[in-house]
C-alpha cells in the first residue's frame, strides 16, 4: 500500500508495472556520488554544481512520465522487490558477515542479475517515447504478456489440451510446460543468461517450439536462421546478433551446421556451444558440441530467486530476408511489441482455445512466428509442418485438421497449380491467412470457393511490424483479392508522399505505420534506423500504396520504384 491506498485504489495494473518499472527505477536516485566533503566544508558552489546527479524523487518522476506520485512510489517499490528479491537473510547468514566473512561464498551483487555487454547493447535498442508508452498501456495494447506466462496459463487452464500436433501425435499443454522447464534449466546450465542471444536453425518441429519457449523463459533472446542459410549469410547473422549458442540439426541436406561452426569458430568468439539434434552426435569430432537430449536431461533447476522476464524485455532478434546487402538489419522485438500484436489479433482472426493453427512457412518467417504467438495467446494448438511441399501441406491439413492456416501465396499457388486442393478435405479450415507479396488476386478468388467452412484473409506485415494490416473475417474474397485491409488493433497507417506529407485518400504514396507493435529501431545500425523512421515517428515501409475510401490499403509495388527514387 502507498499512502494508505491499495493497488486497485491507486489504479496500478500489472501492465503498468511491467511498462514503467524499468524507467522509474532508472530515474530514481539510486546512486549517490560524493566528491570531497562539500557539506562539511560548506562548499555551496560544489553542492550546487552536482545537485543534478542526485536523481529524481517520485514526484519529479511522476511529472516526467505522466503518473501520480503515489503510483510511481508503488511501481518503484514493486520493481525493486522484483529486482532484488529482498529478504536475503539466508545470504547474509551464509556469508557470515563482518569478521566471519567467507570470501569463497561471495557473489558480487551485480551477478544476481548480470547482463552481458552484448545483452545490454541489445536492450539499448529499445527506446520509446514515454507518452506513447502511456497511451499503449492505457489503451490495453501493451499488457503483461510473456511467452512463459502464456505457457503457464495454458497448462493451468487446460493441462490435457493439445499444445502441439504433428505426425507423431500431440503434446499436451502440461507436457509442453514440463519439457520447456527442463530445457530452460539445460540452457541455463550450459551458460545462457538473460539477454543472451540463442540462434536457431531448425525446421518447424517440436524441438523448435521447445527451444523458442525455453529461450524466452530464461529471459534470453532468439534469433532465427533460415534453413537455407550457409557460409557468409550464417556468419553475418551469427556475428551481428552476438549469438552465444546455436541450436541446429546434425545435417541439413549435406550441410553440417556444427561442422561449419567448428571450422569458423575463431570468427565467432562469442558462440561457445552448439547444440545438435539428430542421430549423428559429433561430440567426438567436434569438441564442445552438446547433444540436444543431454541439454534437456538432468540439469539442475533454475536458482530459487530466478527473475522471470517481463513484458518489456526483448525476446526476438529477427533479420529480414529481403534486407539489402551491407550492414545487417537486425530487428529486436520485445514481448510488448510482438505478443500484443498476436493477443489483439486473435479476436480479429477468430482464434480460440481448442483451435489448431498451422503455418506453411518456416518459423523463421515473421508471419509464422506471429501464428505461433497467436496460437499460444488463444490457448490453441500449434500444428507442425517440418518442411513445406504441396503434398506435405495437404497431407497436414487432412491429418492435423487445422482451423487456421497461415501461408504465403507461393505455398497455395503451388498446391492449387498441382490440383491438390480439389482433392483435399479443407472442411476444418475456418480461416486461411495469406501473407507475402505479391498475392495474385486470382489466387484469392480461386481459393475462397474451395473452403466450405472458411474464408480467406490477407495480411500485410514485415519483420519490423509482424501483423500491420489485414482484412477481417466477413470482408469477403473480393476485398482480400485487391487489398490488405486496414490496420491491426493499435496500429495507425497513413499514405505519405516522398516528403512525408500525408496524401489524400485514393492517392498513391508510401505506406507508413506506427503503433505499439512497430519495432523501435535496428540493432546496432543507427543509420538504418534513422532512415527507417520519419521525424514524427512513422515507420517507412517502402511499400507503394493507396488507401481507399473505407480505409483499406491497396499495395502497388515498391515505393522507391513508383516514386522514381
Amino acid at each position: 500500500m502507498t499512502q494508505g491506498l491499495t493497488r486497485a485504489q491507486l489504479g496500478v495494473t500489472d501492465e503498468m508495472v511491467a511498462a514503467y518499472g524499468e524507467t522509474i527505477f532508472a530515474l530514481s536516485n539510486n546512486l549517490q556520488i560524493r566528491r570531497g566533503d562539500p557539506v562539511r566544508e560548506k562548499d555551496f558552489a560544489a553542492i550546487e554544481a552536482r545537485r543534478h546527479e542526485l536523481g529524481m524523487g517520485d514526484a519529479g518522476i511522476a511529472e516526467r512520465i505522466g503518473l501520480t506520485p503515489a503510483q510511481v512510489t508503488l511501481i518503484r517499490n514493486l520493481e525493486e522487490r522484483r529486482r532484488f528479491r529482498t529478504g536475503h537473510y539466508h545470504l547474509l547468514n551464509a556469508l557470515g558477515g563482518g569478521r566471519r566473512y567467507r570470501a569463497e561464498r561471495f557473489v558480487p551483487f551485480q551477478d544476481h542479475f548480470r547482463f552481458s555487454e552484448e545483452a545490454l547493447a541489445l536492450r539499448a535498442a529499445f527506446s520509446f517515447d514515454p507518452e506513447r508508452v502511456r497511451g499503449y498501456v492505457e489503451q490495453g495494447w501493451w499488457g503483461s504478456d510473456t511467452l512463459s506466462g502464456w505457457l503457464r496459463r495454458n497448462a493451468r487452464a487446460n493441462p490435457e489440451g493439445a499444445a502441439l500436433v504433428d505426425e507423431r501425435g500431440s503434446v499436451s499443454n502440461a507436457g509442453l510446460e514440463t519439457r520447456v522447464a527442463a530445457i530452460t534449466a539445460g540452457l541455463h546450465h550450459a551458460g545462457v543468461r538473460p539477454g543472451d542471444v540463442v540462434a536457431i536453425q531448425l525446421p518447424n518441429t517440436r524441438e523448435y517450439v521447445e527451444v523458442f519457449l525455453a529461450v524466452s523463459s530464461l529471459g534470453a533472446v532468439m534469433t532465427t536462421l533460415r534453413m537455407t542459410s550457409r557460409g557468409p549469410e550464417l556468419a553475418a547473422q551469427l556475428g551481428h546478433s552476438r549469438a552465444r549458442m546455436l541450436v541446429a540439426p546434425d545435417r541439413i541436406g549435406d550441410f553440417s551446421p556444427v561442422g561449419w561452426w567448428s571450422e569458423h569458430r575463431s570468427e565467432l568468439p562469442l558462440l561457445e556451444t552448439p547444440v545438435v539434434l539428430g542421430a549423428e552426435v559429433p561430440r567426438a569430432e567436434v569438441p564442445g558440441a552438446l547433444p540436444y537430449e543431454r541439454l534437456a536431461a538432468g540439469a539442475p533447476p533454475l536458482p530459487r530467486d530466478w527473475r522471470e522476464p517481463t513484458a518489456a524485455d526483448p525476446f526476438l532478434l529477427l533479420y529480414p530476408s529481403d534486407a539489402a546487402s551491407g550492414r545487417p538489419k537486425g530487428v529486436p522485438l520485445s514481448y510488448h511489441q510482438m505478443l500484443s500484436n498476436a493477443r489483439l489479433g486473435i479476436a480479429e482472426h477468430g482464434v480460440r482455445a481448442g483451435d489448431v493453427v498451422l503455418s506453411a512457412a518456416p518459423f523463421g518467417d515473421f508471419c509464422a512466428l506471429y501464428s505461433v504467438a497467436a496460437a499460444l495467446a488463444a490457448g490453441a494448438a500449434i500444428a507442425l509442418l517440418p518442411a513445406f511441399s504441396p503434398p506435405a501441406l495437404v497431407d497436414a491439413i487432412e491429418r492435423l485438421r487445422p482451423t487456421h492456416l497461415f501461408a504465403a501465396p507461393a505455398h497455395l499457388a503451388a498446391s492449387v497449380g498441382a490440383d491438390l486442393l480439389d482433392r483435399t478435405d479443407l472442411s476444418s479450415l475456418r480461416l486461411v491467412v495469406l501473407a507475402g507479396k505479391p498475392i495474385p488476386p486470382d489466387l484469392v478468388r480461386a481459393l475462397a470457393p474451395r473452403l466450405p467452412n472458411g474464408e480467406v484473409c490477407r495480411l500485410w506485415g514485415m519483420t519490423e511490424i509482424p501483423a500491420g494490416l489485414y482484412t477481417r473475417k466477413g470482408d469477403g474474397p473480393e476485398l482480400a483479392a485487391r487489398s490488405v485491409g486496414h490496420p491491426s488493433p493499435g496500429t495507425e497507417a497513413r499514405i505519405a508522399d516522398e516528403h512525408g506529407r500525408e496524401v489524400p485518400r485514393g492517392a498513391k504514396g508510401e505506406l507508413q505505420v506506427r503503433g505499439p507493435s512497430v519495432f523501435a529501431g535496428y540493432f546496432d545500425n543507427p543509420e538504418a534506423t534513422a532512415a527507417a523512421f520519419t521525424a514524427d515517428g512513422w515507420f517507412r515501409s517502402g511499400e507503394a500504396a493507396r488507401m481507399d475510401a473505407d480505409g483499406n490499403v491497396v499495395l502497388s509495388g515498391r515505393f522507391e520504384e513508383v516514386a522514381g527514387r
Binding site: N29, K42, G55, L92, F109, H112
Partner: protein, 299 residues
C-alpha cells in the same frame, strides 16, 4: 509564550545541551540555519516546516551495544531500536525549551515525504547533524561518524529561540588510519570489502582523505528492505488476486521466519545489515562508541 525570560543565547544553549545530555544524548550541536536553507531543496528546508524557525538543534544518541556488534549477522537487524531513543530525547527537548524559555519548538519529524517518496526525506536529519558538528560523512554510504562516539542515531529540534550555531567537524574521522593503510594495499576499505552486496566504492587521496564516495542505494536495498518487510508483506497479501496468493504472501518461508522473529523478538524495527558499520574501526572502535568503552573512560 508571552512571558519569555531574558536569557543570553549562549546561556540558553548551555542549558539546552545539559538537558539533552541528561536525556541520553551523546552529542548535541546547533546547525547553521542559513547553510541548511541553502543546501536543502525547496520544500525540505526548515522554514518550509516552521516559518519562524531560528535554530536547528541536532542530537545524537548511542548506536548498537558492543554485544549487538558481536552477534551473528542474521540477528543483527533485530537490535536496532535506538532511533526511538533519539526521537524521545528530541521530543523531550522541545518540551523543555518551550517550558523553560517560553519559545515555540518542535521535534522535527523524520517521516517520509508524501510527495517525493521514501528516497527524499522531508527534513534531512543527517544534514542538520553534519552542519551542527556532531558527525561527518563516511565512505560507508554517507553514514555520519563521530570521532569520539562513532556511529550514532540522530534527531532534530526546531525552535524559534535564537542560539549561536556550531561549526561542522574540523576534520572528517573517516577514513581511519587503518582503513587508509588497507586501501593503499588492497584498493578497498573494510566497509567496501565486507559489504555483502558491494554497494560501496570510492577513492582516498594522497593525504588520506576521502576523494570520492559511491553508494549504490538500490544495491544496499537488497539487504536493507527488511526494514519495510512487514508493511510490504501485508501489502502483497492485500494485493493478491486470490486466496492462494494471499497465503503465499503471508507464509512464504522467508516471511514465516520473519513472523516468528517478530512474535518472539524485541518487537523493534528491522534495519540494514550494518556489515559496513560492524567492520568500521570508527563505528565500533571509537573511544566512546559503546557503553563498555564509555564505562572504561569514566563517562
Amino acid at each position: 509564550m508571552d512571558e519569555r525570560p531574558e536569557v543570553e543565547p549562549s546561556q540558553a544553549k548551555t542549558e539546552i545541551f545539559a538537558y539533552a545530555h541528561k536525556r541520553g544524548a551523546l552529542a548535541v550541536g546547533v546547525a547553521d540555519l542559513d547553510a541548511i536553507e541553502r543546501i536543502a531543496p525547496p520544500g525540505h528546508r526548515p522554514t518550509d516546516l516552521m516559518p519562524r524557525v531560528k535554530s536547528v538543534i541536532a542530537i545524537g544518541v548511542g548506536g548498537q551495544t558492543q554485544g549487538a556488534w558481536r552477534v551473528p549477522a542474521k540477528a543483527m537487524a533485530y537490535f536496532g531500536s535506538t532511533e526511538t531513543r533519539a526521537y524521545s530525547c528530541s521530543y523531550a527537548l522541545a518540551f523543555f525549551i518551550e517550558s523553560r524559555f517560553r519559545t515555540p519548538s518542535i521535534y522535527c519529524p523524520p517521516d517520509l515525504d508524501n510527495e517525493e517518496g521514501p528516497r527524499i526525506p522531508l527534513q534531512s536529519l543527517k544534514l542538520h547533524a553534519e552542519l551542527a558538528g556532531i558527525g561527518a560523512r563516511s565512505l560507508a554510504g554517507d553514514i555520519l561518524l563521530h570521532p569520539e562516539f562513532g556511529y550514532m542515531y540522530f534527531a532534530s529540534v526546531f525552535t524559534e529561540l535564537e542560539l549561536p550555531a556550531d561549526e561542522p567537524l574540523a576534520e572528517n574521522p573517516c577514513p581511519a588510519p587503518s582503513c587508509v593503510d588497507m586501501y593503499r594495499r588492497q584498493g578497498r576499505t573494510p566497509c567496501m570489502k565486507f559489504c555483502p552486496v558491494q554497494c560501496l566504492s570510492g577513492k582516498i587521496d594522497a593525504e588520506g582523505r576521502q576523494e570520492e564516495m559511491h553508494y549504490d542505494m538500490a544495491a544496499c536495498a537488497e539487504m536493507s528492505q527488511q526494514y519495510e518487510a512487514v508493511p510490504a508483506i501485508l501489502a502483497d497479501a492485500m494485493g493478491a488476486g486470490d486466496e492462494a496468493g494471499r497465503r503465499d504472501a503471508l507464509f512464504d518461508p522467508d516471511n514465516k521466519m520473519l513472523w516468528y522473529k517478530m512474535s518472539v523478538g524485541s518487537g523493534g524495527l528491522l534495519a540494514q545489515c550494518f556489515e559496513c558499520m560492524r567492520v568500521c574501526p570508527i563505528a565500533t572502535g571509537a573511544e566512546l562508541a559503546d557503553p563498555i568503552r564509555r564505562a572504561r573512560a569514566g563517562r
